[in-house]
Symmetry: C2
Subunit: 248 residues, 2 copies
DNA sequence: CCACTCAGGTGGTCGGACCACTACGCGCAA
DNA sequence: TTGCGCGTAGTGGTCCGACCACCTGAGTGG
């Protein structure tokens, strides 16, 4: 008490040899630690992590902070928490990690939407070209299933659903799961619903139908260049329409 | 509009006998609520949110749960928390939202790395082609700056740094911020460091140098097709090397 | 042998407390 | 009046302890 300005250099327990520079928040450090564990292979995909309580004790933080870190990695698709069972590392496949891509599409607006469609046009055209060269008979049959189903109804919801599946099968046939996952996020339901609502009101149904038919023909003919052109035109149509809507 | 699982929803295996008013966890609902508020425009980019305590009270949940929701949206690049000041919506620009893309690159392994490089090759070649047509004198000067700096040193760290900047400027010159942000995530430091460590050990320095020079020439000549070919070859070289490493 | 029960462990939620930091305004001095 | 400091109220950051909801698996009884 009487000490006015003590140096207090005695018995300093602090001290770990490495002063452990307080980088960001405690939670952020926990996120990085866990991410590092996975990156270094100390946690295999599908592995089960220690309990929240143990993890918190290991890193010397509270369970609350650890829970925030886990929640963060959960929304990123890195971890998966099963109530009553434990916390597990996901398979770290493209679909798991790229699920967040949908958030980008959902929250983008104005010019950013056009940019997203441009990216989709580039990837989708290439994916369709690859699919034309590699697609199997089974996959082709599935494509046709969605194509006919799409043309057999007038319910916009159902059309949209089969439209998504149509492109998803094609992307899958391209043989690049990562690309397929990105395209999936780029075509998230809410994203397309927002854009297509206006697009289809302009009587674009028939045009869309023709474009899908063109893509299908190219796939049947195993003609990559035709497939690339058809897919690029397909997405490009929507892209141009959206561009005109934003900048009238 | 609840969960969107890839599996079809045709069969009802006695599941969900009750209407199940409780969607997911409380925290997940909070995440969706805030996301919806932003999506509907009730929260403009840059806007300040109510305090954690108020938000929790509004949604009728505890502050702990609300904090987890906020943390989740923070790592997704949607929100930004400033200690002592408040919680703010980000500008929701491509860079903010696509920062998580780096996580994907960092955690991918084996065949997935090749797929990521394939996506990068497709986007980078197109971006470089667009840049060849649109690049300004100032941007070209910056490209040259990084090119010479890259060739003037032997420090791998510095080379990698200028290499990243080199491609970043080109992607920016393409005029599509979203594509540039994706390419940025696809080339995150740790990702490239991991791949390049091995690649450059095989004496690929000289080849890389020639490829960069070729890209630069195409940009100077404003020749999109040459730029596309040069960029595709550049990434393709690494892609092929990596493919051979994984499947010897 | 099977089906059922139930207890333990796990993640999920809650409320409160305190700390670290920021922002703003009051009051003092020039 | 003007400017600058300092104090304070308010914010996010962290921690704790308790309880709830759910899953799992060992034990039990048929």
């Amino acid at each position: 008490m009487d000490e006015s300005l003590p140096e207090a250099a005695t018995t300093a327990p602090a001290a770990a040899p490495a002063p452990a520079p307080q980088k960001g928040t405690v939670t952020q450090r926990a996120i990085d630690r866990i991410k590092a564990m996975i990156g270094e292979g100390r946690l295999e995909p599908g592995a089960r992590l220690p309990t929240e309580r143990d993890l918190a004790a290991q890193l010397g933080i509270s369970r609350s902070s650890m829970r925030e870190a886990i929640r963060a990695l959960t929304v990123l698709g890195v971890l998966e928490a099963r109530h009553g069972s434990g916390i597990y590392v996901t398979q770290l496949e493209a679909g798991d990690l790229l699920e967040t891509f949908g958030v980008v599409a959902d929250l983008s607006r104005g010019p950013r939407l056009v940019e997203l469609l441009e990216v989709r046009r580039i990837l989708e055209s290439t994916a369709t070209a690859l699919a034309a060269a590699r697609i199997t008979a089974d996959q082709l049959a599935e494509v046709e299933k969605h194509l006919t189903a799409m043309n057999a109804t007038d319910d916009p919801e159902e059309i949209l659903s089969h439209d998504l599946a149509f492109h998803r099968v094609i992307a899958g046939a391209a043989g690049n799961e990562t690309m397929a996952a990105i395209l999936d996020g780029l075509s998230s339901r809410t994203f397309r619903a927002r854009v297509w609502r206006g697009y289809q009101e302009e009587g674009a149904f028939e045009r869309t139908r023709r474009e899908h038919a063109a893509i299908h023909r190219a796939l049947v003919a195993h003609d990559p260049e035709a497939a690339r052109a058809a897919a690029a035109a397909h997405v490009g149509e929507v892209e141009e329409w959206l561009r005109s809507q934003i900048q009238p």
